[in-house]
């Protein structure tokens, strides 16, 4: 065991005994995200480095404090990538924060989310026990998939210390085309195209433009371009980065920023007092609105989903709670992994 693990275990054991909250932090790039931040910082940034990586196995195992950019550079050098294209929100972003926040980038509807690429997670639970769930192989059905639970759990079930990802080859061809379109037409087109054998890699609508990204086998991409037409986008890579990293002009300014996860066929949500950017082929809607929390959540629920406050909203309302019965399961799982409620208290739900 490394010094970091020993020290983290000792700190968590002491915090468990005393009931004092600990706030897990990697690079701090997602400090803005989620509920309240409570307790002394437990810094993971020192726990860094690739543990094993064999490109022909398509598996990467890495310490959780490793900077995401370092992981992506390592993969890129071997022609591979994390296909869920995690947002960084700053150069210090770490693997642990990437998993804990459960955020995925523009390619998510076509390539899958963080949780889809997790093969195993090692964590220290709220009693200070080091637990290894999952493994380092592609197919593994032994034991419950408790490692997938860590994606989006905001560190409330344990301190993630090690992660194994399934990785994939980087798409050889990557092209973007722009089409003039209303929001309603764009949603219909996005869904129709997703039902056809096309190498779709991202689909966004904003400002009367549908922007489609096609990535993968070069022959498939050129055949798709010939079929779809559209205008090439200058500096497409920067555009997709600006969507992923929330640096696109839509995300500027002080108005509250909400992420709605909805059924991809849901109609446009733009209205008086609601500005919208449509992402994920219709499934992810970014809203700028000062509507009350309950109204935004109700809007999401009406379209089969839920709302997450990203910026400019009281932190305790960051995440929409699930139904009462499912919330009861959440509480029991939380009590199982962190009985004293010391890990990232309040970061997911106010009373966790």
């Amino acid at each position: 065991m490394s010094d970091f693990i020993d020290q983290a275990q000792a700190r968590i054991r002491a915090a468990h005994a005393n009931g004092t909250p600990l706030r897990i932090r990697g690079g701090g790039s997602k400090d803005f995200f989620g509920g309240e931040r409570v307790g002394d910082v437990l810094d993971t940034a020192g726990h860094s480095g690739v543990i094993s990586y064999d490109p022909s196995e398509l598996v990467l195992t890495v310490k959780a404090g490793t900077p995401l950019r370092e992981v992506e550079a390592t993969l890129a050098a071997a022609g591979q990538c994390l296909p869920f294209e995690p947002p960084h929100f700053g150069s210090a972003a770490t693997v642990g924060g990437c998993v804990a926040s459960g955020l995925s980038g523009p390619r998510r509807p076509y390539a899958g989310a963080v949780r889809d690429y997790l093969l195993g997670v090692t964590l220290i639970d709220g009693r200070g026990e080091s637990l290894r769930f999952g493994g380092q192989v592609m197919k593994n059905v032994a034991g419950f998939d408790t490692f997938r639970l860590q994606a989006g759990a905001m560190g409330t079930l344990g301190l993630i210390t090690e992660v194994s990802f399934k990785v994939l080859p980087r798409p050889e061809a990557d092209e973007t085309r722009v089409f003039a379109s209303s929001a309603a037409e764009a949603i219909a087109t996005m869904n129709k195209l997703a039902g056809q054998p096309l190498p779709l890699a991202a689909a966004v609508h904003r400002d009367g433009q549908l922007t489609l990204r096609l990535a993968g086998n070069p022959a498939a991409v050129s055949a798709a371009l010939a079929k779809l037409g559209g205008d090439p986008l200058v500096d497409a890579a920067s555009f997709w980065t600006s969507i992923r990293e929330q640096t696109h002009p839509f995300f500027a300014g002080e108005a509250p920023l909400w992420r709605l996860s909805v059924k991809p066929t849901a109609p446009p949500l733009a209205a008086d007092g609601i500005d919208e950017l449509i992402d994920w082929g219709g499934g992810q809607r970014w809203l700028r609105t000062t509507l009350p929390v309950d109204a935004v959540r109700a809007l999401a629920a009406q379209h089969g989903g839920h709302a997450t406050a990203h910026r400019g909203v009281d932190r305790q309302h960051a995440f929409q709670p699930p139904s009462a019965a499912v919330m009861a399961l959440h509480r029991r799982l939380k009590a199982t992994f962190d009985p004293a409620g010391i890990l990232n208290r309040g970061r997911l739900y106010p009373d966790f």
Binding site: P55, E57, V59, R108, G112, A113, D116, D125, S130, L131, R132, F133, G135, V137, M138, K139, N140, V141, A142, G143, F144, D145, T146, R148, L149, A151, L157, P169, R170, N191, K192, A194, G195, P197, L198, N217, A219, A220, S222, A223, S261, V262, K263, P264, T265, G283, A300, G304, G305, H306, T308, F319, Q320, V326, M327, H330, R332, L333, T336, L348
Partner: protein, 492 residues
């Protein structure tokens, strides 16, 4: 999981309570009626339940669970009974809850590319219903003509295309679940994600221990326009393994990537005459699917990579008939082996592929040691090995030898960094091997997760996760760095 200590059951009162909530003829209580339910696809384990309940809808499922929960009666859920790990083996003092009659496709949304179905719907029936929209459900376990989607969710089933298209967990978006006390909850949803913990992902592969699935919403994918397969022959399994690594290293993710060794090839050729060469030590089947342009490009690259990896001969399907013929051999591997041995025992370990040569050499060594032959069929792309151990159940001691041989393979899979089960599940079959793969502290966490969903421990007891007591008795408790994790626990 731990079989709870239960009060004696008043069978007559239980039967009458169940009969009240079930349709006429949906409660089976005689040995003759219950015989078809005594085992699943792992027929070496057989047991009769107290009774078999055949509800027709979710409300009846919930009612059965409520009755059982109130009386402390264990419940084992079952789909179509094709599982290979004994996950649906009945509990002697319990109710066998068959979901077979919940078999309707409730809704198919071609634009949103989802299908909402009842748990007893067959895997292949979903793809058949989606076919008019040029869509399909991707996971294709070999039993797909018979297996139920509810069972697929319980086992996180795979198939030959899961390297590219994922497992059940990647292709199911929502479920309605009856908890042990009969409460119905909804997990996941039609949106890309749901709030809070990803309980949908936790449910998939939980082997019926956390809840009973009453409805499943699956993701449908556009059906690839074309598929072609390359068959490549090698003069050693190591070289075939290197061919697999070379394909991946070239940045290609084939739709399917399968390997068979010499004994498997012989068995198959004798049975279906797929056209496999009998002089090869191993063959690879590498399939490309997608648009015609993509497939042409990818097949050319696969052929070049395999030639450079030392393939001694290659054949590429020119049309659908030839493709199906080349696959027929692989798909018939299990029945083909079944023709040349009275019985066989199918293993399911997954290993990091770089250890393939060494693992197959050691399996050959075990084969000599136990005097039992073993054919190897391999989902090569994702490292999932299916060694088929030949034995004769009528020969005294043979089954025990086969099980000991199999356990050595499972231990070896764990030792090289792999897992005891890639896609078949733990069930009752591999419960002792779980003690090798996990420390007692992880097993303790699994028990706690189980208790969070099912505090009385009534759903599928005795499956999937061994008690620490059982591991200690087996002498297989994982001892790390010379010390046990829970010195306070009694050991026998």
């Amino acid at each position: 999981m731990n079989a709870p200590t239960l009060p004696p059951i008043d069978t007559a009162a239980l039967f009458s309570a169940l009969a009240e909530v079930l349709p006429k003829g949906a409660l089976l209580t005689t040995i003759e009626q219950m015989r078809p339910y005594e085992c699943d696809g792992l027929s070496m384990y057989r047991r009769l339940p107290l009774c078999v309940a055949l509800p027709q809808n979710e409300a009846q499922v919930a009612a059965v669970l409520r009755i059982c929960n109130a009386r402390g009666v264990p419940v084992v859920a079952r789909g179509h009974g094709t599982g290979l790990a004994g996950g649906a083996l009945p509990e002697e003092g319990g109710v066998l809850l068959s979901l077979a009659r919940l078999n309707r496709i409730l809704e198919l949304d071609p634009l949103a590319r989802t299908a909402r179905v009842q748990p007893g719907v067959r895997n292949l029936a979903i793809s058949e219903a989606a076919a008019p929209h040029a869509l399909y459900y991707a996971p294709d376990p070999s039993s797909q003509i018979a297996c139920s989607i509810g069972g697929n969710v319980a086992e996180n089933s795979g198939g030959v295309h899961c390297l590219k298209y994922g497992l059940t967990v990647h292709n199911v978006v929502a479920a309605r679940v009856a908890l042990a006390d009969g409460e119905i909850i909804e997990l996941g949803g039609e949106a890309p994600d749901a709030p809070g913990y990803d309980l949908m992902a936790l449910l998939v592969g939980s082997e019926g221990l956390l809840g009973v699935v009453t409805e499943v919403t699956v993701k449908l994918l556009p059906r690839p326009q074309l598929a072609r397969v390359v068959m490549a022959c090698f003069d050693s399994v190591e070289k075939a393994g290197q061919g697999v690594a070379a394909i991946i290293a070239a940045g290609i993710i084939p739709a399917g990537l399968e390997m068979m060794d010499k004994l498997a090839i012989e068995a198959v050729e004798d049975f279906v005459k797929a056209g496999y060469p009998l002089d090869a030590e191993a063959i690879l089947l590498a399939e490309s699917d997608g648009t015609p342009e993509e497939v042409a490009n990818e097949i050319e690259r696969i052929e070049a990579v395999l030639a450079a990896s030392g393939a001694t001969a290659m054949r590429t399907s020119k049309d659908e008939a030839e493709r199906l013929k080349l696959w027929a051999g692989r798909k018939a591997a299990f029945p083909a082996v079944g023709r040349i041995t009275p019985d066989y025992y199918c293993m399911d370990g997954t290993i990091p592929r770089r250890h393939l040569g060494d693992v197959l050499r050691q399996i050959a060594g075990f084969s000599d040691e136990f005097g039992l032959r073993c054919a190897n069929v391999f989902h090569a792309g994702d490292g999932n090995l299916h060694p088929l151990i030949f034995y004769d159940a009528n020969k005294p001691g043979d089954l025990e030898k086969a099980e000991a041989f199999g356990n050595k393979i499972l231990d070896l899979s764990v030792a090289v960094g792999g897992t005891i089960t890639g896609e078949h599940g733990v069930g009752v079959e591999k419960i002792d091997a779980m003690c090798t793969q996990f420390h007692s502290r992880e097993l303790t966490a699994f028990h706690a997760v189980k208790a969070a969903f099912d505090p009385k421990g009534l759903l599928n007891p005795g499956k999937a996760v061994p008690t620490l007591h059982r591991c200690a008795e087996m002498g297989r408790m994982h001892v790390h760095a010379g010390k046990t994790a829970h010195p306070e626990l009694p050991r026998f």
